[in-house]
């Protein structure tokens, strides 16, 4: 329970930032939150959310997955080229895509967890291999998906885009498994402390392997929706999702060192990034400003979650207390600093 509360706490900044962003958008650029604009933005935000959820699982295990572009592009090629416009072949294409991406994820996971190759090298290599398949299967030509997939992914249920419903369902299932099941709790434990988990008798490598495989599954799901939304995706469509997928994970508060994380927060962060892009675009800012705003948001996210503020504060307070003691002016220090220093001192004695 404490763990759940802690994760919820970590999600607070991104949820607050997203609400704040929509308020700012409504005040300064109401066009960016019009019904039609939101409906246009949400399907692609849902795709990013699903892809970033996969990235979250890998990062929770202290890894990083640079094969997202290859996974997305391979899925897109399979669900467009294999059916060749024939909706009756779509189901087989989707099964093939899931098999291919899960197998690629398993292989990446195996290389990382059992062979101990750095995740960056292993997944970058996997990305190149996947692109090899993309070019081989497609012959270098993009093609259109079937009407069935376009109608499904681009459709709405009760006025809500289908892609959003699928993203919400996938986020709920993933969060439920991680937070409410024994397997999920062990998964987080392995990410938090590999040695600790091993000492507790948990076969850590299996969980690392599973992270890459499950990520492959989520990438595939997101890419299938993307194929339907775009109709004729290009062969390198996945390229534009690598950095946003990592950015969503960082903004969602998942530690880049592994362990702590929340797929729900990641999904909210994907919504934040998409709305931020839309807001800046509607404002009419140039492409350079858009990139700067995106980078700024990512920088702030990193600053909030990754910089060890407590340690800095502790050092500052310790330094302040020492200097005050040396100069004999402790009585003139703000009481807060002194008490903080005292707390740290007592903590360090333990």
């Amino acid at each position: 329970m404490r763990s759940r509360l802690r994760v919820s706490g970590a999600s607070v900044p991104i949820v607050a930032a997203t609400i704040g962003l929509f308020v700012v958008s409504a005040v300064f650029e109401p066009d960016s939150v019009r019904h039609s604009a939101i409906l246009g933005m949400l399907p692609l935000a849902a795709v990013l959310a699903i892809l970033a959820m996969g990235q979250t699982l890998v990062i929770q295990q202290g890894g990083i997955d640079l094969s997202v572009p290859g996974m997305v592009s391979l899925t897109l090629v399979l669900v467009t080229h294999y059916p060749g416009g024939n909706s009756s072949r779509l189901a087989v294409a989707i099964v093939l895509a899931f098999v291919a991406t899960i197998a690629a994820g398993l292989l990446s996971g195996f290389i990382v967890s059992y062979v101990r190759v750095t995740p960056i090298v292993a997944t970058l290599g996997m990305n190149a291999v996947l692109y090899g398949f993309v070019l081989q299967i497609s012959g270098g030509n993009p093609t259109s998906t079937t009407n069935a997939l376009s109608n499904f992914a681009g459709g709405r249920v009760g006025g809500i885009p289908t892609a959003v419903i699928i993203a919400v369902v996938l986020a709920a299932i993933t969060a439920l498994i991680i937070k409410r099941t024994v397997v999920g709790r062990r998964f987080e434990a392995v990410g938090s402390s590999l040695l600790g988990a091993r000492a507790a008798g948990v076969e850590a490598r299996r969980y690392q392997l599973a992270a890459y495989a499950c990520a492959g599954l989520l990438y595939c799901a997101g890419a299938i929706l993307l194929g339907g939304i775009l109709g004729t995706p290009n062969l390198f469509q996945g390229d534009s999702y690598l950095l946003p997928s990592v950015a969503a994970v960082v903004l969602g508060g998942t530690s880049l060192l592994g362990g702590r994380g929340s797929v729900i927060a990641t999904a909210v962060a994907a919504l934040f990034i998409s709305q931020l892009d839309q807001f800046v675009l509607v404002l009419g800012a140039s492409n350079g400003v858009q990139n700067l705003v995106d980078a700024g948001a990512l920088g702030i996210g990193l600053a909030i979650y990754s910089v060890p503020w407590r340690r800095f504060r502790r050092r500052r307070d310790e330094g302040g207390a020492r200097s005050a003691t040396r100069s004999g002016q402790i009585g003139s220090e703000p009481s807060g600093s002194v008490s903080a220093g005292a707390t740290v001192a007592s903590g360090s004695q333990k």
Binding site: D31, S32, R34, S36, A37, L39, G40, M41, L44, G84, I111, V115, R116, V117, V121, A122, G125, A128, V129, G132, L135, Q136, G139, G140, N141, P142, T143, S144, G154, L226, I229, L230, G231, T232, P233, N234, L235, Q237, S240, D277, Q278, L281, V282, G284, S286, N287, G288
Partner: protein
């Protein structure tokens, strides 16, 4: 084997596998010898029955593509092969694909020279970055002809000739059509490719020049263009934002019509109709227009020719110079209008459902040859 050795061995195997996979699609040599007999007439500068640019000296021809993996490039390579096949003096056709990697493109130009290519047409996607390699090929005695993307340098110093086109002319053609289609009044959105690319910038300059004749036409939103990276997803994001911001958009200009066609759902989501469009020709966009115009009469379409056949001028020039044939009269390939839904001239909107969406109907290839170039011989529309 120790743990460290085992890790190293597996890592090495992985690197080799990746390299093999990457190389598997690169540098594919066509080896398409045109064969045929060299029935040269004594006293004639070119092979009898062949075009005047096909001289009598036997040569190996090379096409060094900086990037080869999209439908435009595939069809263009098909055009180059078809043109080269007209000249029996070409004993071998070597095609290399730089895969968008500058280093790869440079090393492939060097390898073409080392492999005895006599005439080399280069698509210098990386611009000035490949100029040193082009210059080396030229100085090594290979007839070197870059085309379409300016690599810097000068003809006669760094290469034999640069076959160019004027993208501002395409923008001007769009603008002239918009003046008539919009009756000199309306709002225009201009979509382009990656930031600062010379093609999109030149098209904007031409568009601005042509629409300046009509003060009632306003190019609204970001200028010179909205950055779409020629990516359907980014195009959709941009269109969603633009449709939210501007309640009145009378026309869209873009240099990648297929991405616009892939982003049509942005209009549906916004409950808006597609306005007039000026772009390059795309079977997908034309088919979409023919379908939608029944319910959306504002969706008029004007396209300029996609110029896949431009490579033929580069082939002619390089082969003529290397074989002793007659050089083409000009090194500049003009932009031409292709479809015009208002006048039907030079062509009405051409949708061919028997061809795949990524087919380019302005290509000079036959449908069968184009399907072959696209690797879709089994396509059944």
């Amino acid at each position: 084997m120790g743990k460290a050795q085992r890790t190293f061995a597996v890592a090495l195997a992985g690197v080799v596998a990746v390299a093999v996979a990457a190389c598997g699609t690169a540098g594919s040599s066509g080896g398409a010898s045109s064969g045929g007999t060299n029935a040269a007439h004594v006293g004639s500068s070119h092979v009898a029955g062949a075009p005047s640019w096909c001289g009598r000296k036997k040569i190996v021809f090379g096409l060094a593509d900086g990037f080869g993996d999209n439908n435009w490039r595939k069809i263009t390579v098909g055009e180059a092969r078809a043109e080269a096949a007209k000249c029996p003096s070409i004993t071998k056709f070597v095609y290399t694909d730089g895969q968008g990697n500058t280093q790869e493109a440079i090393s492939q130009i060097h390898s073409d020279v080392a492999n005895g290519v006599n005439a080399l047409v280069v698509f210098p996607d990386a611009g000035k970055a490949v100029l040193p390699a082009i210059t080396q090929a030229y100085k090594a005695g290979v007839v070197t002809v870059p085309y379409r993307v300016f690599p810097g340098g000068k003809a006669g110093v760094n290469y034999d000739a640069y076959i160019s086109t004027n993208f501002a002319q395409a923008g001007e053609l769009w603008g002239n059509w918009l003046d008539k289609a919009l009756h000199c009044k309306g709002n225009v959105i201009n979509l382009g490719g990656p930031p600062a690319n010379t093609q999109s910038l030149a098209e904007y300059q031409g568009l601005k020049k042509a629409t300046a004749k009509c003060p009632g036409i306003h190019i609204i939103g970001q200028t010179p263009y909205y950055v779409t990276n020629w990516d359907p997803a980014q195009t959709q994001k941009v269109l969603t934002a633009v449709l939210a911001k501007y309640p009145k958009i009378n026309a869209i200009t873009t240099d990648f019509g297929a991405a616009l066609a892939s982003s049509a759902s942005a209009f549906t989501q916004a409950g808006r109709k597609i306005p007039a469009v000026a772009t390059e020709d795309s079977n997908q966009l034309s088919c979409m227009r023919q379908k939608d115009v029944k319910t959306d009469p504002q969706f008029q379409l004007f396209t300029v020719d996609s110029q896949n056949w431009m490579v033929r001028t580069a082939v002619d020039w390089a082969v003529a110079k290397a074989t002793g044939g007659k050089l083409p009269a000009s090194t500049v390939v003009p932009q031409k209008p292709f479809e015009n839904s208002l006048t039907g001239k030079p062509h009405p909107v051409e949708c061919d459902p028997s061809m795949p969406p990524d087919a380019i109907l302005s290509s000079h290839l036959s449908h069968a040859a184009q399907l072959k170039a696209l690797g879709q011989t089994g396509f059944k529309g």
